[in-house]
Symmetry: C2
Subunit: 658 residues, 2 copies
């Protein structure tokens, strides 16, 4: 039962009407894009996209990403029209109001069918690359019967102009992701005006140069759209379909101009558009015949879902597939043996190396992981455990050579995590979280289990100098909501942090790891102490007057300071503050016990002191680095910046005596 071609323009007008109405009611929003891409989206959702509105979590559905997220009314219209449980028409009436799932930009945590949060330009398409990677990998692992779907993207000029576009399409082209199809809303308008105000690029030639198939169509000619979509699907490369459209199509006086981009059309223009479109229904009402057509659009997907369910039932790998898509770790997954091995034979190694040996324990027992690095494999120590290379020739591989594409890597990892079935981790230097920060924020906002393996985490990296030495990065990441920032002090804590990170189904983790060797401080087996966020590594021996908080490489320095204080009869606790986010979530009694009111609280971290005062108070002492670093061997730098017991202990004594 196919929808009559003659019905398609009417169905598309339903998107236009809802978009105009919702933006008008909210007196805020972006009508131009949904109206311009209504025809292409209608073609996609009636003839190509594989989806079941009644089962939005169906694992083998096509993924649809509205990378141009400001055009959110497009996807809200489509979800409503095709019959998803939400949004309701009431939700759409409340577009952009508090509590409505129809937020200004689409949020994956508010609506099923919204595969990812979009709005920060370029990232939707880059996440789609990750989804397409996850799809090919799971296809290689579970076969065509269980995993064989496409990733569709609608992107605008903004998405294509952003730098991350280059990284994303470079990766997709190299990996030959033929199930990735990008529909470019080629309307030649940006907020500031015509695109030729700021760009002279031949976008199609650029995509072709990057290994993509490229075609184009008249985005308002259904037959031409159909041809182009079929062409895109037939080509083995990722495809760009340049859809030539008129922004705000249907608004007779404003269409084709930036006036339709980000503002309500206004009552008069809405009336004129209704007239021009022949749309006579009341606002927010869809004529029943048109709604009925739309409600049939998901029918082929519903049938495909049924067939697929039969395959799953028949599959000997059903439970493993379901476990992976649910995001559960395998029963019995544990790092206890690895940790016990460390206790039995303590290691003086860099925590990046400790991470590598943890991964060597993790990867063989956890087939879900897909690792990688942005061209720093040997520095990030991210390749371990005998996982093969993920490539066009071997999608079963689990290690991605992301190239020098930090932002693209992070966004792809978000896409993988959102797709499900895999747990992505990837590495670069901690300082280059700056390059990936836009995507790290979306990991946190979208509740993605992505693990960032960020090595070279302080001046301890030495000679590479200030451009490579993170100073403000720990603070700036800790300020971000819903992100675990973990800085383990030794090999045991590193393994504990990996365990914790893998268990976070709904948030990302940054592991901040050293380049330089650190002594092993944890020498007894027992509970995962890092899970408390902070814990007392060493209790005062003499009467306690000082508590030293430290992280990572500075915990052993704190222990050295404490030893010198004890030698002078001053009792000093040492607290390893592995993860302030987890510590802050402990109960008040636990926190108060670690931060007693009657002791001088000292923080020691080879980084900005910004933020530590919430533990030390203004009467405490904050040892750190509040300027940029320098180029020299690590030991010289620690001395230069006063991060030695010789420099710190006198400050503590002075404070105690003041």
């Amino acid at each position: 039962m196919t929808i009559e071609p003659a019905r398609l323009p009417l169905m598309a007008n339903a998107i236009r009407a809802l978009s105009m109405d919702a933006v008008e009611a909210a007196n805020s929003g972006h009508p131009g894009m949904p109206m311009g891409m209504a025809d292409v989206a209608t073609a996609l959702f009636t003839g190509h996209l594989k989806y079941d509105p009644g089962a939005p979590h169906w694992a083998d559905r096509d993924r649809f990403v509205l990378s141009a997220g400001h055009g959110s009314m497009l996807i809200y219209s489509l979800l409503y029209l095709t019959g998803y449980a939400a949004p309701t028409i009431e939700d759409i009436r409340n577009f952009r109001q508090l509590g409505s799932p129809c937020a200004g930009h689409p949020e994956n945590f508010l609506l099923d069918g919204v595969e990812c949060t979009t709005g920060p330009l370029g990232q939707g398409l880059a996440m789609a690359v990750g989804m397409a990677m996850a799809e090919r990998h799971l296809n290689a692992v579970f076969g065509d019967d269980l995993v064989n779907h496409r990733t569709w993207v609608i992107a605008g000029d903004g998405c294509l102009m952003e730098g991350i576009n280059h990284e994303a399409i470079g990766l997709a082209g190299h990996l030959g992701l033929g199930h990735l199809n990008v529909l470019w809303d080629d309307n030649r308008i940006t907020i500031d005006g015509a695109t030729d105000l700021s760009t002279s690029e031949d976008i199609k030639a650029r995509y072709a140069a990057t290994g993509w198939h490229v075609t184009e169509c008249d985005g308002h000619d259904f037959a031409d759209i159909e041809r182009a979509l079929n062409e895109a699907k037939a080509d083995p490369r990722p495809s760009l379909v340049a859809c030539r459209t008129l922004i705000g199509k249907g608004a007779p006086n404003k269409q084709g101009t930036s006036a339709t981009h980000g503002s309500p059309l206004g009552g008069a223009e809405v009336a004129a558009a209704r007239e021009a479109l022949g749309w006579t229904a009341a606002p927010f009402e869809i004529p029943s015949d048109i709604l009925s057509d739309w409600r049939m659009a998901g029918e082929p997907g519903r049938r495909a879902h049924g067939t697929w369910a039969g395959h799953l039932e028949a599959s000997p790998r059903k439970s493993e597939f379901e476990r992976r898509m649910a995001g559960d770790l395998p029963a019995g997954f544990t790092l206890d043996d690895h940790i016990n091995g460390l206790i039995a034979a303590p290691q003086k190694i860099a925590t990046r190396k400790a991470s590598e040996i943890a991964l060597a324990a993790i990867n063989p027992q956890l087939p879900d992981t897909i690792g990688g690095s942005a061209d720093l494999t040997g520095s990030n120590n991210t390749l371990a455990g005998g996982i093969g290379t993920f490539s066009k020739e071997n999608y079963a591989g689990r290690y991605v050579y992301y190239g020098i594409r930090e932002f693209g890597m992070a966004a792809a990892m978000n896409g993988m995590a959102l797709h499900g079935g895999v747990i992505p981790y990837g590495g670069t230097f901690l300082v280059f979280t700056d390059y990936a920060r836009g995507a790290i924020r979306l990991s946190a906002l979208q509740h993605c289990r992505v693990i960032y393996v960020m090595t070279h985490d302080s001046i301890g990296l030495g000679e590479d100098g200030p451009t490579h030495q993170p100073i403000e990065h720990l603070a700036s990441l800790r300020a971000m909501p819903n992100l675990l920032v973990m800085r383990p002090a030794d090999a045991v804590e590193t393994a504990e942090c990996w365990q914790i990170a893998l268990e976070q189904k709904d948030r990302p983790t940054v592991l901040a790891l050293t380049r330089q060797n650190l002594p092993q401080l944890r020498l007894e087996a027992g509970e995962n102490l890092s899970a408390r966020g902070g814990y007392r590594l060493k209790a005062a021996e003499a009467a306690r007057k000082v508590v030293i908080l430290a992280t990572g490489s500075e915990v052993s320095l704190a222990a050295e300071c404490a030893a010198q204080l004890e030698a002078s009869g001053i009792g000093a606790d040492v607290v390893s503050m592995v993860c302030t986010e987890l510590f802050d979530a402990q109960d008040a009694a636990y926190r108060a016990e670690l931060l007693p009111a009657d002791a001088l609280i000292v923080s020691v971290e080879a980084a900005s002191t910004f933020g530590w005062q919430r533990y030390t108070g203004t009467a405490g002492l904050n040892i750190g680095i509040d300027s940029f670093g320098a180029s020299a061997p690590a030991g010289d730098l620690f001395a230069h910046f006063g991060l030695t017991a010789e420099a710190i202990v006198p400050q503590i004594l002075q404070k105690l005596n003041s």
Copy 2:
């Protein structure tokens, strides 16, 4: 007096020898790139680059940017060999040691002749775009006699693979920057191995698609290099010269492999390389005939400098040109009239609008400014004061439509500031500092006067929702060294902040500005109070028990809270904490007076509370938002997140009574 072509290979070997020796002595560094690009660099510095080693600040010199900054020994070698005052051979012997200007990566603040700090990949080339923009602008303003030079870049595969490369070359191609020439070290090797491990891109086709002239050469054939450089100079478009090279050229066993990229060659391979190159001089020694050749290389530039100096002397615009290149503001530059106008007729406007009217007062009297926006002109309110559009047709224009290229814009602004003669400012939404963060950090590290006009600075932007609402951004920017983060509370403070930002010759400023209207709180003329960083806007009337610190849009909220407290007989100061960096630089007495020990200190900011405890202590109260935002009208959001007097005052009362 031209250098004999037969001498060039010997001169190039001097670079190779110094690079090997320095990396070996430091036991750390990157010999592969300097050895691979030694021939191309020799051709450039002996026949094309316009420079005077005795006058590294000569305004009309060509700019040379080593975008592949890890190959720092290339530029240190060149500066030494051509006879710059620094580095000395002793400095090179101390490569990567504390105190040596020969840092791991080139730092503009350590050595003349290093035009910008590089190392974070892609940004050198992107800054070069800004330098080339400044050159064309100043050429348009001052004419060929005073300004007519080129910008040369050496870039590696990493620089070209980074996302920012797309933004930078898109901008350069669109603007037709024909004086920009990029020499790409096409060695087909990255850290992880061969480039085909991670990319399949046709780079030359991509550049051509972006409006660039593209040519190539054998990077070890001097005649072919010469041909390509001449071709690049002759073309009116920006040029990419693909220089096919062998990484580590000269090291017989390791050349052409990633083993030469980031590690010392080792004694045996250095010996083999010396043998292969026929280089018999002792380490760090350059044979006198070769050094003598090198010392002549700058001769044409010295002569050109002399000619140019005559032009400058003869120019009626000499003093204006010198003022601008020195970075001084015009004598008598002032915003006093503008501020007095605000005092006379108070404005209830958004601070983004206040910024626009400040710019309308600034731009006509300060020809140095070059403004712009990353496609948010009407939202950032960055276009004011009758400045024309900067374009290929009109380089005299002073407003840049940067397109949707936040990172590229920020890097270009760094390049402009480093070039000198202009003061760049540019806008986007505060949340998208995440996209530009890598370049903001380099603004701070390089001491660049760049002014970031970051609007939509809180949940006050309303309906666009969490992806567009900054939460952690103020904290994360405040944690960065050498950056002023200013959040003015009204139109007067906004003007004061502009005055301060323009006066910072050696650091960047972020102006965080509202979308929503704010009442004018400052109603009396007088000193620039914002220059104190924080100041008492309103003193307690009843006995002081509370001090409320607030910034930007929350200062008026703080005043409302204070009024309610006063009505209950509780004295409350209100402090506008415009810029914590400037406040922290005040003397202890001033700070203590504003933060008295006997009062409850309360911070109120519609953002993460992270970091405020350094003022409030742990006994104070921090009102803010430590989760992501939401999509709704601004007023609803302030209520939802508890940022109303009704929600805050009871918390203060409770705290006072506890």
